[in-house]
Subunit: 225 residues, 2 copies
């Protein structure tokens, strides 16, 4: 098999989208951890426009942007498809992927430490509105967004299953709860338990420690400025 | 042929992306002009999440979001493809489409009338930086982003060829100029002159009148608030 490499950063949810897609396709690859405070010359060469991870390198050719990488993977290795074959269903999948791409900052923005309690409550409400829309209009009563199997939409929403609970714990706020969005809550549990995902998830407690450390750093910079 | 309808608004560049794609594919359709201050029940039914145009309706099924509609069109009517067939080239096309989707507000933001001259100069510089990146890294010496023929990337960037010059005239600012981005300037001219585009472009002078009117309205609301 032609060489596949992934430049990523622990525990970026954008890296994990690619890790999950490669795992679902059964593609072996070399993982290269990037230090974002000291980016490698290769990363700068591979993604000169954004200088960001993840970058997938296939046969020496780089591909950037997590969701574009997922489409590349799906088109290059068609077995275990990540998108439906019907154009209308593909359009619906892309609609919900774009939806969460546009809204992810709304949801993860709740962790902004420099803002006060009033901001936090507003951010919580805004995030919950997004999740309710997703539950009602996209997920419905299905096990996964893709139906019985995980597909590209599930991977796009994967950060809700591990990153959001970490934020909720550190920030002390409740958003994705059984009493507000029960079906999406069940989805998150199903997603974490799926074999390929379970074997490729960053550790919750390590992520909590790291986020606490990052928030403390940010707070100190905020106080100085 | 199964019935195709397009709900759009004059002169939304997002509507025109779809109009151009349908024209390039030679698909006949019914165009339904939506009044965004009084949206039709059909539009609200077809796009309940965003309640926005454009919406393409094919055999009674709605598809929303201009770039998702373009992919649907390309997958449903494969003749005259709008994306390259090679996965790596498709990824590159999607990269540059996402780039301008993310940056279009930077460029069109220059028309914000409530901000002063300092803002305008900053917005002009930020826009020019975006255009220089596009010229150097995406367009290069090609006639179109797609090479000799217009493809999906050209349609995504199409607003630079008509909407941006209207903004430049009304706001009295120069961004897309032969002395700063000569190759992109030539692309804009080539794009406007391509037969299918030329026959499906909103009128420059009408757009200038409308933008002047809108800015005057906005200014009056701004003064009151």
């Amino acid at each position: 098999m032609t060489e596949v490499k992934l430049h990523g950063t622990w525990p970026s949810p954008f890296s994990y989208r690619v890790i999950w897609a490669l795992a679902l396709k059964g593609i072996s690859y070399e993982y290269i951890e990037e230090d974002l405070s000291n980016k490698s010359p290769l990363l700068l060469q591979y993604n000169p426009v954004h200088k960001k991870i993840p970058v997938l390198v296939h046969a020496g050719k780089p591909i950037s942007e997590s969701m574009i990488i997922l489409q590349y993977i799906d088109e290059t290795w068609p077995e275990n498809p990540l998108l439906p074959s019907d154009p209308l269903q593909r359009a619906a999948a892309r609609f919900w992927i774009k939806f969460i791409e546009d809204k992810s900052l709304v949801i993860l923005g709740v962790s902004d430490i420099l803002e006060g309690e009033e901001y936090k409550e507003k951010a919580r409400k805004a995030s919950l509105e997004v999740l309710k829309t997703v539950e009602e209009q996209a997920l419905g009563d299905k096990k996964f967004f893709g139906g019985d199997e995980i597909n590209m939409v599930d991977l796009a929403y994967g950060f809700l299953a591990r990153w959001l609970p970490v934020v909720e714990e550190v920030v002390e706020v409740k958003i994705l709860e059984p009493n507000t969005v029960p079906r999406l809550y069940a989805w998150a549990e199903n997603f974490r338990q799926a074999a390929v995902i379970r074997d490729n998830l960053p550790d919750h407690d390590e992520m909590v420690s790291r986020l606490k450390f990052r928030r403390e750093q940010r707070l100190q910079i905020g106080r100085k400025s």
